[in-house]
Every structure is written in C-alpha cells, then in structure tokens.
C-alpha cells in the first residue's frame, strides 16, 4: 500500500514538473495577407491568417486542425521560415523568427524527397548542409533509416518505394540532423487508411523516445486526437485558433484507444467546435435557429464524413 502511494506521488511530481515546461513557440496576432487582383482587375488582398494566437510548449505534441484553406499550412510555412508574415509576432526560444531556423525540420505532405538521390543520400542531406563529414553522416543516416524500418532499402531510389515508405524516408530525413521542433504538414494526408494508421503509431513511438516538440497539421479529427497532447482548432479563413482542446488520454497510447468512450467524447467535443467552420469553408450557411433541423443535420453528417 505504501509502495503504491509512493509511486503515485512520483507520478504527481512528474506531472507537476511537466506542467511547468517552458514555452517553445509563441505566436501573437500573426497575420498573413496575399496580394491578389479582384474580378475588376483592382488590387485586393486575401487575408489567410488574422489575429492568430498560439503557444506551444517544449516537448509537446500539438495538432492544428481546421477546414481546408483555413491557413494552417500557411502558419506552418511561416513558422518554418519559408514564408514571411504580414504582421504580428512569432517567437521561438525567446527569439523572433527570422528566416529558416536550423533547429526546425519540416515534413511535407508531398514527401519532397530528391528523386536523384538514394534513400540514404536523401537522409544525409540535412547533415551535409551542416557540414558533417561523409563517413559520419552515412552512419547517422543509416541509424535513422533503421529507426523507420527501411534499412534494407537504403540504396534504393524514391520512385522504387511506396507512398508510406517515402514518408518514412522523409521522417528519417527530418530527424537525422536532430532538430528541436518537427513541423509536419499533413504528412499522412496522401496515404491510404491502413498505412496511415501504422505510420501514426510509429510516429508516436519515435516521439515518445525523442521527446521533440511536434506541430502536426491535419484535417482528420481522429488523427489529431490520437496523436496529440493538445488540439488547436482553427476557424475558416481568415484563420485563427478558435479553441484548444486538451487530450488527457494516457500515454503510451495503443491504437485501440480510438474505441474508448473518452476518445469518442473528445472527438464529439472537437467536432462541435469544428463543424460550423467546415460548413462555412464549404460555403454552407451554419444552421439557423427555428429552421427545421433535419436537412441541415444531414449536411453536417456529410461534412463530418468528409473531414474524417
């Protein structure tokens, strides 16, 4: 009995110290507008992000969920230093973002592997950029290729691999130079459902052993809840964070957790927040009060299926 109490205490202390973790990334009033020409040929602008606020803690797995075109990828691109913001403040490790941060790495939906390099050469790229010598970088690269289970494919070219394998290579490449922050832009969006589930579980395994900060963009509710500590739900364009939902599911998570009542409840809660935004993004008016709800309800269901 005493032993049990003791171990409980330790967990509590750990949790408490965990709650105190430092802020890794802070976005304040971030705005992004693209200049365009409107239908009369006059200069206009599309506001993609407006009043975007977000705080990410060190070691956290945070998902950003939102309807298509809400600017979630744009935010990631700004955070990665690939796109400039129009106004607002974006601070990483206490420093304002200014160009590409060498401690960040990005995993793209389209894999973005170099087709003329073999798997191992692809994974070496980030190390080569950092001036790591040939022999050493090969060793490190092979280590990470092994981590994603592709050791026997090290000398193949990307076009010889399936989509899931390509994304594993991209993940190995992004980890190889040991970044603090992993920015993942719908990395599993192009994969089939089974491959996707396997890679989600593997990503969790890798994250749990490395404890990197991960910002994960997705439009799948299940994926966001299954993977994350917190899920930030965005509004339709112009995008801002509408609500952040804590995901207190215990870790390490097994895939079966998706069938638990807690998971289903979280999913329902997240969907309630997201629903109106999805409808708005698709050009459907949110349900009006007093109007018979049946038809609208159905539309909601269709949208629900699409999102998932």
């Amino acid at each position: 009995m005493e032993n049990l109490l003791d171990s409980r205490c330790i967990i509590l202390v750990e949790k408490r110290s965990g709650a105190k973790v430092t802020v890794k990334i802070q976005a304040m009033n971030v705005k992004k507008a693209f200049p365009v020409q409107n239908e009369y040929g006059k200069k206009d602008q599309i506001i993609v992000l407006d009043d975007f606020q977000l705080q990410v803690q060190e070691g956290e797995f945070l998902s950003i969920l939102g309807p298509s075109g809400c600017g979630k990828s744009t935010f990631l691109s700004i955070l990665a230093g690939l796109t400039s913001k129009t106004s607002g403040e974006l601070i990483v490790d206490g420093q304002p973002v200014n160009g590409v941060n060498k401690k960040h790495s990005v995993v793209f939906q389209g894999y973005a592997l170099f087709p003329w390099l073999t798997v191992v050469e692809n994974v070496e790229t980030g190390l080569e950029i950092r001036g790591v010598l040939k022999k050493e970088r090969r060793e490190i690269a092979l280590e990470y290729i092994n981590l994603v289970g592709l050791y026997t494919f090290a000398n193949r070219y990307p076009h010889e691999l399936s989509g899931g394998m390509k994304q594993r290579v991209a993940i190995a490449r992004s980890l190889a130079y040991n970044p603090d922050v992993l920015l993942m832009d719908e990395p599993f969006g192009a994969l089939d459902a089974q491959t996707r589930e396997i890679l989600q579980t593997e990503l969790l395994r890798i994250w749990e052993s490395s404890k990197k900060t991960i910002i994960f963009i997705t439009h799948s509710l299940d994926e966001a809840i299954y993977l994350s500590d917190r899920v930030a739900i965005m509004t339709a364009r112009p995008g801002r964070v509408k609500k952040i939902i804590d995901i207190p599911l215990e870790r390490p998570r097994q895939f079966e957790i998706r069938n638990s009542e807690e998971f289903v409840q979280l999913r329902q809660e997240a969907w309630e927040v997201l629903k109106d935004e999805v409808l708005q993004a698709q050009g459907v008016n949110p349900p009006q009060e007093g109007v018979p709800a049946k038809r609208v309800e159905q539309k909601g269901k269709i949208a629900n299926e699409k999102v998932v």
Binding site: V106, A112, L113, F114, W116, L117, G126, I129, R130, Y157
Partner: protein, 262 residues
C-alpha cells in the same frame, strides 16, 4: 527454346522495315523502274563505301566533318548550359531578355550564313559558327525551362533544412534540371548535323556534305548515296553517344521512365 524463338522473332520484327526498304531500293533501279543515273542500288553504294575506305578518303571527310560539328556543338553545349542556368536562376532578367531570345531562335542558321562569311570569312570559323548557332538555341532554351520548372517543393524542402542558395543551386536546381538540359543537348546534336551539311555544301573542299554535292556534280551517283548513308550513321552515332552520356547522368530516372511506360 521458346526464349530463342522469341529473340529471333524480336530481331526480325525490329529489322523488317529496314530489310524491306533495302529490297525495294535494290529492285527499283534493277528492274528499270527508276533510272540508274538517278538512283543507285544499295549493293553499288556498298561498293562505293568500300572504295572510300580503301583509298582512305573516308577518314579525311569524316574527320573534317567531325571536327567542325564537334567544335560547334561543344561550344554550344557549354555556353548554352552556363547561360541557361544563369537565366533560369535570375527569373526577372529572363523575363526581360526572353522576347529577344525567342526572336533570335527563329533566325535560321542558314539565313545567317552570309553574315558569318562576311564577318569570319569562308574558312572553318564560319562553318563552326553556323553549327554553333543551330545547336545553341535548343540547348539554351531547354536549360532555361528546366531550371524554371524545378518543383518548388524540392527547393522548399532544401531551404527548410537550412540549405544556402549556392547549395540549392548545385544540389537541387542542377540535378532537377538535368533531364531538360539533356533534351536540349540531344536536339542540339540533331540540329548540328543538319547545319553541318549545309555549311559543307557552301565553300568547302572536304567533309561529307562537300562529298555528297561533289559526287553529284561529277556524276558519281553511288558515291553520292554513300555519302548520304555515312552521314546518317554519323548522326546516329552522335545521338547514341549523347544518349549514353545522358543515361550516365540521369541514372536515377531509368526505373522512372520504365514505370511511366508500363
């Protein structure tokens, strides 16, 4: 067994068209359907080629043709690629200069020949110049478009890993543009042979182009056809070498092309 018969069938199928063509060519003058004074049968053409080899004239003509075409082509390849890479990289400047390039491209190398003669005389330099002009444009324009159309995702991917601009240029832009560059080089090779013949037919005393025209003028018709055949082989050989170099540099594409074809 089946494998052997398959190979035999494939060989027959791949060469049938040429064999049939040669047969018809042989029969037309032999049966008197076309005058021998205009069309020599291939057997006589082969005899003419043998003669050329035994007198050593073959080497003289092929060597001077090769020298002209290769000097023009190599200058076109190096300058076309270097300029193309620069223009593709500096997009603003490329947009500025593009109309002028499109205009120049349309100026036939043959139309410029009198200009080259005027400036460079009738010697070897103006012949190399006409070959250079013909081969330069496809190489330049294909290189520019190869660089311009590099997938932005690949550039972003390299940037996100912290790559510098020179690194991106060397390790992303050039390999990604390589297939386009080689398309330009192969086209340049083909144009170079065409321009070579024209150059050698005007004011020249050696080379296959000269030999063809000269044989016609002195009524050695089998020799004229011999020159034409040799020229075709020269073009084939050049194309083969360029294809070999290309596959060496774009080895990674091999399976890709096969996949697309399948």
């Amino acid at each position: 067994m089946r494998k052997w018969s398959n190979i035999l069938y494939q060989t027959w199928y791949r060469s049938a068209a040429i064999v049939i063509f040669l047969l018809i060519w042989e029969l037309l003058p032999r049966l008197g359907l076309v005058s021998k004074a205009y069309l020599s049968p291939p057997t006589e053409v082969i005899v003419a080629i043998q003669e050329l080899i035994s007198t050593g004239d073959l080497w003289v003509h092929v060597a001077s043709s090769l020298q002209r075409s290769l000097s023009g082509l190599i200058i076109a390849i190096t300058s076309g690629i270097v300029l193309g890479l620069i223009l593709g990289w500096f997009k603003k400047f490329e947009a500025f200069i593009d109309p002028l390039l499109q205009l120049f491209r349309q100026i036939s190398a043959f139309a410029l020949f009198p200009v080259f003669i005027l400036f460079l005389g009738i010697g070897e330099v103006s012949k190399s110049a006409i070959i250079f002009w013909a081969a330069f444009w496809p190489i330049l324009l294909n290189t520019v478009s190869g660089v311009k159309h590099v997938d932005k995702l690949l550039i972003d991917s390299a940037r996100s890993m912290g790559a510098s601009q020179p690194y991106i240029f060397r390790k992303v832009i050039i390999p990604a543009a390589a297939p386009g560059i080689f398309t330009g080089i192969r086209l340049g090779g083909a144009y170079c042979i065409t321009a070579l013949v024209a150059a050698e037919m005007i004011g020249s005393a050696s080379g296959l182009g000269f030999y063809i025209l000269n044989s016609q003028e002195i009524f050695q018709i089998p020799h004229m056809y011999a020159g034409i055949i040799l020229l075709a082989f020269l073009g084939l050989g050049l194309n083969y070498i360029l294809a070999l170099v290309e596959s060496r540099f774009t080895k990674w594409k091999k399976g890709l092309v096969r996949d697309e074809a399948a």
